[in-house]
Amino acid sequence: MRPLITALGLLVAWELLVRLTRVPPYILPPPSRVASVLIDRFDLLLEQALWTGAEMILGLVLGLVLGSALAVVFAASAGWRRWALPLVIVSQAIPVIAVAPLLVLWLGYGMASKVAMAALVIFFPVVSSLYDGLRRTDEGWLELARTMDAPPRAILLQIKLPAALPAFASGARIAAAVAPIGAVIGEWVGASAGLGYLMTQQLARGQTPLAFAALFVLCLLGLGLYTATDRLLRRLVPWQSFQGD
């Protein structure tokens, strides 16, 4: 309830600021104006939101699957670790935004380049959190497994992997929070649909209120994605208790 009151207070302050300073709406539209655009153009916004939402979810799933797979491979194979892990780390030095035009060039203006972009952004937090978790298995559990004559595969799948799920969950939460960045950057660079595309297009035309409305929907989308992911992860790791809950 309290964050809602804070948000409401900020909106009122914004409205007052715009009215008192008489900033033109193409520079900074008042919230009331954005709200009315939000209602008038709801169909358009919903259509674009579905498109961007699909990009985010597909990118998130792709990044989680690829990132998890690579983390497991790194944990299981010293060869892969030696040959490919440094590359994954170095690849993070390349700014994702710089790669975006290339992805559009290769994968086109459609959804694929945005999905790839989102997957690329979330790939690293997923790999590093899960790999880290896989390496930090409680020594006592591993010892127990060894005295039980467990084969290495069973140790990985039945002990290391579940034990790493809380670490994976942290990475997946970050992934859910940054997946929208990937999708929107992709849309800015070159797209024919989506909320990011709508924003750049409307800003160029001086339709700032609609751009703000798109931004607002984008925020809701990101929030929804994060909340849904968080819920799912809590179900995945029911034995973990959170402090401050």
Partner: protein, 238 residues
């Protein structure tokens, strides 16, 4: 149990080092088959290293026989139910037929340790004593002829500890068990033989055989006299 060949355990001219630090040298002694030997020593003397040596958990060591190992911590997996934790060895070895065959015994053992009604509970919903009892059931469910226990009851309150000692004596009967402890009374209540570890690098003292069958009454004057002697031993030399 009936078809198990229960071996004795021997340490012959062993050198035990942990983290580059020499714990024991030219160590030789025997632990009789089908009996419980308690190794008593102060903290840091090297009891755990000796047990890990026996378990083949130290580098360049091999274990003497198929064994089950119980540590100070319960080491229950938090994502598995109590029953699945007790059957962990069978799950890890991936032998489904053996697991199905072992399940009735797992249930019986859990009933015996007083957890018969908590089979599907997750470990974090159990108290420390219940968790350690589940760990005891897991150790015994492995059905190995040799059982090594590293201060298994150290973290428990006095009464729970006594209860678990009674339980362990009953369930360990017929197996070769080695129980490491820093508590003289625990060693005297549970062990067929008690040996004191002292010095650095440590040496293993002569076997002390407490009178009467285990679990022994903690109020028995003979036992208390032995306890006083063991405490003097531990204090004086170690």
């Amino acid at each position: 149990m009936a078809d198990l060949v229960v071996p004795s355990l021997s340490v012959r001219d062993a050198r035990i080092a942990f983290d580059g630090h020499l714990v024991a040298e030219r160590l030789s002694f025997d632990m009789p088959a089908g009996r419980t030997t308690c190794l008593l020593g102060r903290s840091g003397v090297g009891k755990t290293s000796l047990l890990r040596h026996l378990a083949g958990l130290l580098p360049d060591t091999a274990r003497a026989a198929p064994l089950a190992y119980m540590a100070q911590q319960d080491r229950l997996l938090p994502w598995l139910s109590v029953l699945d934790n007790v059957l962990l060895g069978y799950r890890l070895r991936g032998d489904d037929a053996a697991r199905r065959a072992a399940e009735p015994r797992a249930r019986a053992l859990l009933a015996e340790v007083g957890l018969g009604d908590r089979l599907s509970a997750l470990p974090r919903t159990l108290s420390g004593g219940m968790r350690q009892r589940a760990a005891l059931a897991r150790t015994l469910c492995e059905d190995r002829p040799v059982i090594l226990m590293d201060e298994p009851f150290a973290h428990l309150d006095a009464v729970t500890r006594l209860d678990l000692q009674d339980l362990a004596v009953r369930l360990l009967a017929g197996r070769t068990a080695v129980l490491v402890t820093h508590d003289p009374l625990e060693a005297l209540r549970v062990g067929h033989e008690v040996r004191v570890l002292h010095g650095s690098p440590f040496t293993v003292g002569q076997a002390i055989v407490p009178p009467g069958p285990a679990p022994r009454d903690p109020g028995d004057p003979a036992l208390l006299a032995l306890q006083a002697q063991l405490i003097r031993d531990l204090r004086g030399i170690a």
